[in-house]
Every structure is written in structure tokens, then in C-alpha cells.
Subunit: 372 residues, 2 copies
């Protein structure tokens, strides 16, 4: 069940609630990717402690290692990860189409070779949905072709039309499996269309007309090129169905990006960047300005480069306004020492901070909407 | 203050209590090395949760990175690590003498080149003690020459005599600093003597005659060659002063080694092995047999090789009798998946289990002594 709890009067942001088999999530929400069934250095207790409400796992990666049949045999991904909150899986489309030369698309599906062991896999829309049901996730994503920006109009039309034909097959398989297994997994369709306004709007209307629990906006541009992402959201906003969650796939390269899509009517987003930049020594800082919706700090790009010599005996936490376990317990000096010593503990603490920080910024946004 | 709480009637094991500036520790005790100010993947809260009572930091490593002057400026190693329990530092002797060709020993001390940046460091007994006081540890170790087994009797005599002359200089510097800084750090002397029975006994008597708070037994053999280690302990046991803790340096390659020295009258020991083998995929299992004092399991060397295919969907914990957070929350299948996926989370969970397991085995030994 999806409920709009409050709409901002100042922006298009809203607070909503979505019920899943593993509990409710409240949006706007950042869904950190636990790509391979773990969130890069964080265990499930850590994930909960970052105030994350849901994580994303990756169909493609779980198919290759350890294999969805083992996860099914185990009793599902929640049990495997010892994680009791909602889990969303992407359909594998993004990763498979990233293989480019190693993938062959037909009307029936996509043939690709595993970069791990060279074995051939043929993924159809039905197969992708089966894998996601085997994993046992709460939100299943449609199997689509993640469209590149370089596509000509003609190529884009061929690709999107196939994606929406696949959508019907996904929905059919999803309903069949939910019925057969007596489960109540949710299903999201995905809007493609690249940089073509008419294709994007048409796509949204097609997806919104189907029996879907949420609408995702995908493609190479989304999250990757934030100016274009914002433009696409301006095109689509008038056509958003108000009774379904909207999810931009791959948005969140910075917390500012999360705010930027939230105030344009988006409810959900995921991105590997906060965890990845953490591992590379960039820790998120800054405070949300309630009037401008800009995150502000004394650091360039609101990132503290922890390797800097200036932090060698700096007893301050990474971000003084942050309530996370890392900022409450450890200093910049200690994190710098862990980073230059290349200990896995650095990876954990840095990832923990960056994920927590993103959730905190979104909680601030929610508080602002509540207090309007 | 040191107190013997209970002596075993069946073995030479005993339960003792040692008070330090950061609280009491109860022996027999395994002190996991937090060599560079962190316990390989574990933060200070994790360390507490493994039921470790004290950790060891390394003077040599902290001198090179970040430098003891920064730790002093910061307010000490406890504050830097956010760790409030006792900390012991080794003197750096072991690491410096491991550099072999890069070190030159004189009566005054040891000259060596940093393997990090090639800078020359001259460490005297006084300097080692100063660094340890700068770090702000609870137990300071004497600066000694860690003797190799290959020494001739003549070389061994020259080395041990110098080590005990250095001991006097260490004690003098230690007392001076404790007085000057109004601290009450403890000081342990170190017995050397290699494989020579007369030198070992003579060394023990010399160290025991000095104003030391504990007696350590060092050298290449100790922990490295357990048969010889046990033999040396048989030689020395009759001469152990009963009112001081006995510490074998570098013992604990396996939990069995910890039991083996405990039942030969040793109170304290440290070893990097439990954490190191964890990272390499070896997880400790087995139960202590109360009669034979042997750890028993179905696995070779009481080590479960987590990479084995047989664990791919094994829902059991690593060790069913283990109460640690990892065994309570995660399965062999999940740990195997993390290991083959090379995620830092594996390193944390594996290290956590192995350290917790060692503490648990020692707690079992203590319970046995209490219930005799």
C-alpha cells in the first residue's frame, strides 16, 4: 500500500509511505546498494544503524555468485544476509547492457557471457523475474534495456518499444509467481526513452497504465548527468501518477543530487557513490540550507579529503552536525590514520558515515516538509 | 596490584588479577595485538564485544606512523583509538631486530632505517620508554634484543648481558617519567637467553630481582616453536616469582597454544595469528576437553576453511558452541560468500569470530579452574 503523507508547499517534494512484505519505508528515501548481498564492509546490523530503511541487491551479481538457486535453497536473501528490512532488486538490465560487446539482444532476451567464468547466460524478462523471486526480494524491477544517450531516435524507438513489450511479459511472470508462491512482492516498471522528450512522456504514460506498484525512471543519463536528469524530471512531473512511488535509478552521486530529485517529485533513489567515494577517502560533510535546498560546508564539493596532513591530530569528528556512530566515536585524526594504514576498518567507518550522512540529510528534508 | 585469585590443583594454571590505570584484567589472558592502533578491521566497540580485556600496540609501528609525538599531542593512544580498557605496548625490540641487516646494535641502543621512508632512527632503551609513555599505555615493556635461536653461547651471553644492562636503564627512565608525569604505568622486564637453560634461568632470576611489575619471556623460540617453548617453561617454572604475572610474548598461534602455556603457569600472551589466519579464510572451531586440555573438533587443526564449496548453502554458524556476535548472526554460507567476494566485511566478521573464540576458550579454562 502506498500513501502520500504530506506534500511540500514550497517544492514538489513529498513524504510518502510504501508497505512491503518486510515492513514500511518512508520516502524520500536513499536505498544503498548491497550489490552482492552486502553493503561494502557493512553487516546487516551496521546497515540498520545507518538508519537505512531498505537496500538494493543486484540480480546480475547474485546470479553469477553464489547463484540464485543457492539463495533460494538457503531460504532467501533476507535470511542469507540476516537482514529483516525491505530489499529491492534491480533486474540485471543495467549490468548486462554495460557488457556492451559481450551481449546480444533479441526479441526474446539478452545473451551474455559471464566475465567471471565465461559461461553463457540467456536472460529473458521471465528469467529475470524468476531470479528476483528466487532471491525473495520485496520489490521486483522490470527487465529493460538500459538505454544509452548516444542512441538515434530510430534506435531509441526500437529499444523502448521492446522494453515495454518485455514489461508486459515481466508483469505476467511476476503475477504468476506471486500467485504460485503465495507471496506479495511488489513490482516496478521502468521508463526509458533516453534524451527524447516525446519518448520519455510516452513511456511514462505506458508504464503508468500498467499494473505496477511503482514507476522507475532509468537510462544512462539518470544520475549520471544531473542537468539532463533534472530536465527529464521537469518534462515528466506533470504526468506522474500521484498514487505511485517514483524512483530515479542511479541517482545519488552526492547528497545534493538526492535533494535535487526529491524536490522535483522523486520518492526513491539508489547510488553506489556514497560508499565508493568513502572508500577512496572522501567523507561527506555539510548542512542543508532550508531556504535554498543547498548543502553548505567549508569543504570543496562538501567532501572532506581524509588523507590530508592537516587532519593528523584533528580531534574533531568528520562532521560536527552528524549523529552517526562514527562521528560520535572517532576523530578525523583516527580515520586519517586508518586510511593511510589501509585497514579494512577505515572502509567500514567511512562507508558507515557516508551512508548515515545521506539518510540524515534526507531526514532533515523530511523534517522541513513536516514543519512547513 | 597483582592478586592470585585461584590456583588449579590439576595443572600449573591460575586465575589472577592485575590492576592498571585503565582497570583490572583477569588472567589467563589473550591480548590481541592492535599493532598500529587498530585491531585489523575491528573498531574499539568491536574489540570490547569480543570480550578482550586488553590490547597490545606496537611502539615501532606507532613511532613510524603517525608518530608518538602526534599521539601525545592528541592526548594519548586511548583517546586516539577511543578505547578505555588497558593497553600494553611492546618496546619495538622485536620489530627492530627483525630488520636484521638494516639494524646496527651498539651498547647505547639500536640504529635502524625506516622501511617506510628510509629515515634513520636511533632507539635507545630510554627512547623506547619515552615513546611508550608518550603513547600513554598502561603496561610498558623493557627494550631488549629479541634473541634468535641461531646464536652461539658466546653471542647469547653478550646479547643477554646487554639486554639486562638496558633493563636497568629502562627501569630508571620509566620511574623518572612516571614521577614527572604523575602516572602509574606498569613496567615488565623481559627474560631472554635463547635455547640455553642456564642463561634462561639466570635471566629469570635477574629480571625477578629488579623492580618490575611483571615478567615476560621473549625470544625467537617463544610461540614460534611450541615444543621448545614448553620445555623452556618447564625449566623456568620452579623459579617463577609467585607474586608477579608471567607473560609469554608471541604465544597464541592457535588457541591450543594458549591453553598449553596457561597450564604451564603463564598468565598473559599475545599473538597476531588468530586475526591473520581469519583473514586468510581459517576460522577457529572446537571444544575444550576438560580432562585432556585438548581442543577437539571434526576439522583438521580445529580450523574451518571457509572457502570450501561444501559451505555454499550451509546455514550453520561457524562454531555451534560459540556465543560470539558472528556465530549468532551469520552462517558459514554467508561468510563463504563474503570471503570469495573479497569484501572487507569478511575480514571484520572473521577476525571478530577468531578473537572472540580465543577469549571464550580461555573463559572455559577459567571456569574449569573455578569449579575444580
Amino acid at each position: 500500500m502506498f500513501k502520500v503523507l504530506k506534500k511540500s508547499k514550497k517544492t514538489k517534494a513529498r513524504i510518502t509511505s510504501l508497505s512491503t512484505a518486510h515492513g514500511k519505508i518512508q520516502t524520500p528515501i536513499f536505498m544503498p546498494p548491497a550489490t552482492r548481498g552486502f553493503l561494502k564492509s557493512l553487516d546487516s546490523i551496521d546497515i540498520n544503524n545507518t538508519n537505512s530503511q531498505i537496500v538494493l541487491v543486484n540480480t546480475y551479481h547474485m546470479l553469477l555468485k553464489p547463484g540464485d538457486k543457492y539463495i533460494k535453497k538457503y531460504g532467501g536473501i533476507h535470511s542469507f544476509m540476516n537482514y529483516s528490512k525491505p530489499i529491492l532488486s534491480d533486474s540485471g538490465g543495467f549490468q548486462i547492457f554495460s557488457l556492451k560487446k559481450m551481449v546480444k539482444i533479441t526479441e526474446d532476451g539478452a545473451l551474455f557471457k559471464s566475465p567471471i567464468d565465461g559461461t553463457e547466460h540467456f536472460i529473458t524478462p521471465e528469467k529475470s523475474i524468476q531470479i528476483q523471486h528466487n532471491l525473495g526480494v520485496d520489490i521486483v524491477m522490470a527487465f529493460d534495456e538500459c538505454m544509452q544517450d548516444s542512441y538515434t531516435k530510430e534506435e531509441a524507438i526500437i529499444s523502448t518499444q521492446r522494453t515495454y513489450r518485455w514489461l508486459d511479459r515481466c508483469i505476467k511472470e511476476h503475477k504468476k509467481l506471486n500467485k504460485k508462491n503465495k507471496t506479495s512482492r511488489l513490482f516496478f516498471g521502468i521508463v526509458q526513452g533516453g534524451l527524447f522528450k516525446d519518448l520519455r512522456i510516452e513511456g511514462l504514460n505506458i508504464v503508468a497504465s500498467k499494473d505496477v506498484d511503482g514507476i522507475a525512471i532509468g537510462g544512462e543519463t539518470i544520475g549520471n548527468n544531473m542537468e539532463k536528469t533534472k530536465e527529464i524530471l521537469e518534462w515528466l512531473y506533470p504526468y506522474f501518477p500521484k498514487n505511485k512511488p517514483i524512483y530515479t535509478m542511479g541517482v545519488g552521486g552526492s547528497p545534493q543530487d538526492m535533494i535535487d530529485v526529491s524536490i522535483r517529485g522523486v520518492d526513491m533513489f539508489d547510488c553506489v557513490a556514497p560508499a565508493r567515494i568513502a572508500r577512496h577517502g572522501n567523507l561527506l560533510v555539510g548542512k542543508l540550507n532550508k531556504k535554498t535546498f543547498k548543502i553548505e560546508s567549508n569543504f570543496k564539493d562538501n567532501r572532506l579529503r581524509i588523507s590530508n596532513q592537516e587532519f593528523i591530530s584533528d580531534k574533531k569528528p568528520v562532521e560536527k552536525n552528524c549523529n552517526c556512530f562514527v562521528c560520535k566515536n572517532y576523530s578525523r585524526a583516527y580515520l586519517r590514520h586508518l586510511f593511510i594504514s589501509k585497514d579494512p576498518l577505515y572502509s567500514r567507518l567511512a562507508t558507515f558515515h557516508n551512508i548515515s550522512y545521506c539518510q540524515q540529510i534526507l531526514n532533515e528534508l523530511k523534517e522541513n516538509i513536516k514543519n512547513e
